[in-house]
Each structure stands twice: as C-alpha cells, then as structure tokens.
Symmetry: C2
Subunit: 173 residues, 2 copies
C-alpha cells in the first residue's frame, strides 16, 4: 500500500509518500515541504498548497492519504492556518476519491517511537531508522509527514486484522 | 458590481449574491444555505461545500467574493470546521481568479446595522430593509452571507473613494 502523509501548514506543509505493508520493510517514495510566503494573500497560499497536493496525488498515485488531525488547543496564531491547509489537503484527496485518515500528533508519535509524547528529534530519528535513510528528513514537517504515512500503514494493518478477527469470530458462531 | 458573500460553516454554509453599487439600491440575486450532515466524513463534507461554491461561481458570475474572517477566539468546538469551510471557499474563489476579501463579523455588522455588536435579529432586519425583501432570510447564516456581500460592496466603494481622493490630492500638489 502507498500512503501520502500530509503535515498541514500554510508556511510549511510537509508531504511524504511511503510504500509498504505492516510487518515488511517500508520504503520512502518521496518527501518534500511546500512553502508559501506569509506576505501572500490567503487565497494564493491555499491555491499553491492545493496545486502541490494535486501534483503529488497525480505523480505518486497513493492508495490513501493520512493528514494530521488539527486541534484547536494548539497555538492560536497558527491553528487557523493549519486548519485551512488541512481542509485543502482533505478536499483534494476526497475529490480524487481516496480514503482520508486523520491521525493526531500523539497517534503518529506513538506509532513511530512508541511514545505519544516523543519530541521532534525522536520522531526524526525513528523515521530515519524505519525508512533506512542516511539522515533525518529536514525540516521537521517533512519527517512528520513521513511519520503520518508510516502510522497509517501500520494502523491500517491493525484495523484490518481486528476486522478480520471479528469476521472470523462471527463466522464461527 | 456583483458579490458572493459566504458565511462559512460545515453544518450550515451561507451563500448570498448581491448586486449593486454604493449609493444606489442593492439587489438580491440569490441566497441559500448549504448543509452537510455532521455524521459524514470531513472529506465528503468539504467536497460538498466546494461543489456548491463552484456551482454558485459558475451560475452567478460574481466580480468578487467576501468571506467571513474566522477568529480562533470563537467557540473551540466549531472554529475548526469554520476555518476548514472558509479555506474551501477561499480556494474556489482564488482558483477562479476572483478577488477574495475577508471581513470580520464586527465589520459586517457595523456595515449593515451601524453597530459592530448588533445581534442576529438586527442583522436580519437590516439585510431585509437594504435588499427590500418581504421577510428576513432564514436561517441566520443566509442573512450573514448577504450581510457580508453588502459590506463588501459598501467597503469596496469607500476604499475606492479614499484611493481616488489620495490620487487627486497627489495630483494637486
């Protein structure tokens, strides 16, 4: 399965594509950060993010998109931009008919490091190890996007296993 | 000038088109509220809003789009959805090459009622009077969308007058 992870943001929006399956080594397909100038008007910034996400969907043909779930408890000054960038990413995925999953930062951190409270360096180190990279992806938004994609591959597999077990139990009744 | 006003929201998104110029009577072109079911996934909801906004842009061919500026001080439970719906509306307008203006709720209320702290009923009553309607548009989101469009026509004219006066003063020097 191929997953596009998106760490939404107006100033920096992380995009990372990972391919693989739970229990087998994962592979980095692509990673980048889209930047839009804070001085530009909001329409131009959101449009630039939309075009980048659409280009990635076209080029990398993911099976699913994993976007960070935005919480309003975060920094009030940045949360609106994050919510707006996430809306554009989610709409692009929905328009392409792809399943969209939202994972919280804690879920992503717990998936890749084992702790929901891991710091940026720890996430970067584990993403580097899991994908067998030479160095941690920079900036942190790039590593976070890959972490979301990894989290999705692994959580998706767990969800599928549970569904299969439930179905089996149902069939045995 | 023809303006599409948008009062963004996931559950109810107000859309209102007004035509006219400052100092001349304004005319209601269309008003409606797009609703998306709270039980649907966020991708489907944002896509439904995108499709509605695109249909309105195509059908009513506005010269500008006025969207309510979202503040994070609002109700934390609804602000994320409002920010996401506004992002979709702004992106649709930018994609169509239309100017997008953001007006705060206070600016809209001050424009149509004379007070930035007017309540919903007062906004509804003044929108009804300004557009010479038989009854206030319902629900409040519809009246707010029209209020944003009216606000934009009037503020735009004021901005243009100031720019013209500045240009004249410069020419007289």
């Amino acid at each position: 399965m191929r997953v596009l992870g998106i760490d939404p943001g107006l100033t920096r929006c992380g995009l990372g594509v990972v391919e693989g399956a739970a229990g087998r080594p994962l592979r980095l397909v692509a990673v980048d950060v889209v930047r839009t100038p804070p001085g530009d008007d909001i329409g131009a910034r959101l449009l630039a993010i939309e075009r980048a996400v659409e280009a990635w969907l076209r080029e990398h043909q993911p099976d699913a998109v994993a976007v960070e779930r935005v919480f309003s408890q975060h920094n009030v000054r940045t949360v609106m931009g994050t919510a707006q960038a996430s809306a554009v990413a989610i709409t692009c995925a929905a328009r392409a008919g792809l399943p969209v999953a939202l994972h919280t930062p804690s879920e992503m951190k717990a998936a890749v490091t084992g702790s929901g409270r891991a710091d940026k360096a720890q996430v970067g180190a584990m993403v580097t190890r899991i994908l067998r990279l030479d160095a941690p992806p920079k900036p942190a938004d790039a590593a976070d996007a890959l972490g979301l994609a990894i989290c999705h591959v692994w959580r998706g597999a767990a969800t599928a296993r549970i569904a299969a077990a439930v179905a089996l139990a149902g069939a045995g009744r």
